[in-house]
Symmetry: C2
Subunit: 133 residues, 2 copies
């Protein structure tokens, strides 16, 4: 699999406005975008640091995977997204190597990127996203 | 705080040798170092992707913070480390802004880097490390 860098790190929070203060006022990062991803029932806020984005995730419904994550594990780091030039090819390659997929095909995520998730049961508990244009 | 990039992402696993197969055989990363950090009662394995390292953490004792993390939350993403040019200065700055610290002073971590942790109770559940030379 040809992965170039960590595209983003997803962080599940109860309230983006409250959590933003830590990333802005303490760490000194700048929030450059806030976006709702209706498909995943989340509101997102983005910060950039080096090659990588920090993506805060706030559930917009109790049915959101982010709400379920927080109910089970509390607020915190939710997933890692690796940058790939071809999400569908990378998903297929992972499946051929015995990895269980959440997404069999790439779908659209925040910032209009193609995304696909591997199942954490196959990845030692790390919810792993593959992400590309 | 003057942070340049994500220095590494720490991932708590039960067994480094088993988890390595996912990062090497599926994601195509290369493990370039394995090191024991006795102070923290962990064995570590490092992979590089872009500016960032993936640090697998395996507890070498039931008293290890990594063993306690896994007992509570299961295997998965454990912490994010941000690169700073001055860990002590950054810790002090965080404390002055009301952040609870795990480390009041920088100490030596893996790869002989200076490290210091912020307490996840102050950082929306994100165990945050500041890391530098």
């Amino acid at each position: 699999m040809n992965l170039s860098h960590i595209e983003h790190i997803g962080i599940a929070v109860n309230n983006i406005e409250e959590a933003k203060t830590f990333f802005e006022d303490v760490l000194g990062l700048k929030c450059y975008a806030v976006e709702e991803v209706k498909d995943q029932k989340v509101k997102t806020a983005f910060f950039k640091i080096g090659q990588t984005k920090i993506e805060l995730l706030e559930a917009t419904s109790d049915e959101s995977p982010v709400a379920k994550f927080i109910a089970k594990k509390g607020q915190g780091i939710h997933h890692i997204a690796f940058a790939t030039d071809d999400v569908n090819k990378s998903l297929k390659e992972a499946e051929e190597k015995g990895i269980k997929l959440i997404d069999k095909q790439a779908r659209k995520g925040a910032e209009n990127l193609n995304i696909g998730f591997l199942h954490p049961k196959s990845t030692f508990g790390v919810l792993t996203e593959l992400c590309g244009k």
